[in-house]
């Protein structure tokens, strides 16, 4: 009995000490818990933000930085209750889900009064500058168009309430889904031609020239697809549309798929469409080198495959890595096939389970990310496009300095800076005659900044309307997963293998028995 008592006493003591220590920690400094994608910020220690926080509030801040690698892991962690985080950076469809589950608080970032009113009184706002004007309006518009009013479905006081996503999130990064390819390998196959590639469109990933014929047999076994349900689904739907395989087909309500806008089409997940997508994906397997998530860039850089479905930021990294002395050019290139495409956004949201004591820090942090310099640092580090407007970045000397330095251009030389601005914001350069030329005849001038008006003067400028945002699949989620699993498992047949092995074993045993019998007879 005494032993138990003393044991309990020791345990209590330890717990008490631990509680005391952690309590001390909180009371002395402000703190903030950030839950973000891995490799998705300039500096995970956030030294610059700490300085900014000190400057505005006069207080030090402690930051806990936690990362996730897919929206699904993040959603699982948040919904299963393990969620002592203050700010999270999910993708648009995950934000939709979180709003439906009533797990977020509205911030009203784009209503300056409401946003700043929510600061607690002990923060002096003299040094605070609201940066919502820096955020690209195009994103807000696109998100409002796609998601409209989201209905909260979770049980509770807010059930049935319709809210706008814009009140809940602050855009951070965005990017497109497109085609990363080796232009020199394409050239060798004789398909590096604007006409051919435009005809083939998303069919490149299916080795289809746009008319149902093989684009080039050299592509077979050299195509990579993303091991990601949503992205592969989007690319397949675009392919089906462009190749005319959706002609005459209608959705459950009798609307022709071909009559839908890009946004409507990728969000029209019904059984009929799913069946066609499943078949196309199954068929595609014969053409593939494989599916990738992490090794796609390497496979392309090493020449194992020559075309890949890729996100713009990943693609940019790969393109910059692909400098070839032999060609005196980048070997890889990226573009979004004309007329259809997918654009996605990641943004900051605040879960309901945040620590109310961290509220000021949350608001300052989100606002801090929209300062041009901070945006420049982040986009340089991450490779996607920052939600801060291109024009704001171009007009901010500090931001341009960060960017130019990152790309090794000379900040003091106006020619060099003009060259950089054209390269970075317009994906083009001036040739000897002073004509604007796109870096690559297939590519868009504005794939990095689809919202930017700056590239308007360029013929290769493409319309942002052709890019659709994908919503959550909702109750079709399961059906999509099943279809994806089905097409992934199809086309592999191990039975012949079993036959051959059985044959080999039989022969081996037969020989042993034969030798044995012969020996016995002798």
């Amino acid at each position: 009995m005494k032993k138990i008592a003393s044991l309990l006493f020791v345990i209590l003591l330890v717990c008490f000490a631990a509680a005391l220590l952690s309590a001390c920690d909180v009371s002395e400094k402000d703190s903030l818990v950030i839950y973000n994608w891995a490799d998705y910020i300039f500096d995970e220690d956030l030294e610059d933000f700490k300085d900014y926080y000190k400057q505005v509030t006069g207080k030090d801040i402690d930051i806990t930085y936690v990362t996730f690698d897919t929206n699904e892991t993040m959603l699982t962690r948040l919904t299963k209750g393990d969620s002592n985080v203050d700010v999270v950076c999910p993708s648009e469809y995950a934000i939709q889900k979180l709003i439906e589950m009533d797990m977020l608080i509205p911030m009203y970032y784009f209503d300056e009064q409401r946003y700043t009113d929510a600061f607690s009184s002990n923060v002096n706002l003299d040094l605070y500058e609201h940066n919502s004007d820096n955020v690209e309006e195009g994103i807000i518009e696109k998100v409002s168009d796609t998601f409209g009013q989201i209905e909260i479905t979770a049980q509770g006081d807010n059930q049935g309430k319709k809210v706008s996503m814009v009140d809940y999130f602050v855009p951070y990064m965005y990017g497109t889904l497109g085609i990363l390819y080796n232009k020199y390998a394409f050239d060798e196959l004789g398909i590096y031609d604007e006409q051919i590639l435009n005809d083939s469109n998303w069919g490149i990933l299916f080795n289809d020239d746009g008319n149902g014929n093989l684009l080039h047999e050299g592509l077979t076994g050299n195509i990579l697809m993303k091991d990601s349900i949503r992205d592969s689904y989007a690319a397949t739907v675009f392919y089906l549309l462009e190749s005319g395989r959706l002609d005459g087909l209608t959705d459950e309500n009798g609307v022709l798929y071909t009559e839908m806008s890009v946004g409507e089409l990728i969000n029209a997940v019904d059984d009929g469409l799913l069946e066609v997508v499943k078949d196309a994906l199954t068929e595609q397997k014969k053409q593939l080198f494989g599916y990738e998530v992490d090794f796609g860039k390497d496979d392309l850089l090493m020449g194992n495959a020559i075309v890949d479905l890729a996100w713009s930021g990943d693609a940019m990294y790969a393109v910059e890595e692909s400098w070839s002395d032999e060609y005196d050019d980048y070997e890889l290139s990226y573009y979004v096939p004309h007329s259809t495409g997918n654009i996605w956004f990641d943004g900051w949201v605040v879960p309901k389970t945040h620590n109310p004591a961290h509220f000021d820090a949350i608001k300052l942090f989100i606002n801090y990310l929209n300062i041009p310099v901070s945006a420049a640092q982040n986009l340089l580090e991450i490779g996607y496009s920052s939600a801060v407007k291109a024009d704001v970045l171009r007009n901010d000397t500090d931001a341009m300095e960060v960017l130019a330095e990152g790309y090794e251009y000379d900040i003091d030389d106006p020619d060099s800076m003009q060259e950089f601005e054209m390269y970075f914001f317009e994906n083009s350069y001036l040739d000897e005659n002073g004509e604007i030329v796109c870096y690559d005849e297939i590519s868009d001038s504005n794939w990095r900044y689809p919202f930017a008006s700056a590239a308007n003067h360029n013929d290769d400028f493409r319309n942002i309307d052709s890019l659709g945002v994908m919503r959550d699949f909702g109750d079709k989620n399961k059906a999509v997963v099943t279809a994806w699993n089905y097409s992934r498992s199809a086309g592999v047949n191990a039975l012949p293998l079993l036959g051959w092995t059985a044959l080999a074993v039989a022969i081996a045993v037969g020989i042993v028995v034969l030798v044995y019998i012969i020996k016995r007879k002798n």
């Binding site: 009995m1 090493m302 989620n477 399961k478 699993n485 498992s489 592999v492 039975l495 092995t501």
Partner: protein, 266 residues
Amino acid sequence: MNKKFKFRLTRRAFAYPYMIFLLLFVVVPLVIILINAFLDDNSKFTFANFAEFFTDAGGGLTVLGNSLIIGLVTTVICLAIGYPCAYFLAKYHASNRVFVLMFILPMWVNFLIRTLSTKAIFMAMDVDLGMGTVLFGMVYNYLPYMILPLHTTLVSIDHSYIEAAEDLGADKLNVFLKTVLPLSVPGIVSGITMTFIPAISTFAISEILSSSKIFLFGDAINMHFSKTTNSFGVGSVMSLVMLVLVIVANVIVNLTSKDEEVSSVL
């Protein structure tokens, strides 16, 4: 106070941490998987997960079949290469540990690194990734697990049995078939389980060495848990199926090898 509740620092007390560990990290997760298998998206009781798996809607059964075949073939090849290897190691180099070490050496390198290097070699040789490369990777990875138990058994065979057989007039083939082979059965069985069970649940090897084209049971389970938020149910059912296979394999092992000394390591 009841006598039973008295805390005594006996030898048994040292087993408690282990029991707690087992409970927390083996029993509880299994129970969670079991519960998940019967829940739908809204945490309501359902058999739909089982229905989905056993009707092969998502290709789950096809994948299981392929995995079993690939596991079986891997095991057969491992045995075919591993037995002669272990036999000659035991026969000619029983006292020389260096040769045995050579076979274990690759196991000291992380298997992901080994597999990635294998892929690099295949790519450099212009070999198309597919079933063949996956099979190669599996055999390469699991061969040591076949050789080691076989080697241990073969080395521990009392040499006097072999001498006795020779004295009684058996030729080399008969000595092998009638003494060495029967005496090494425990090693064979243990080698087979150590190869077959991990081989049917592998996913990294097939993912890397076929660029995810060969989709195995392990890949399918992985997909349900890591790439989606709402198909844990089907994933759990597949995990349960896997668990049943492991148990069945172990029962078979225990039935065939009554020998206590070198029975299954699992």
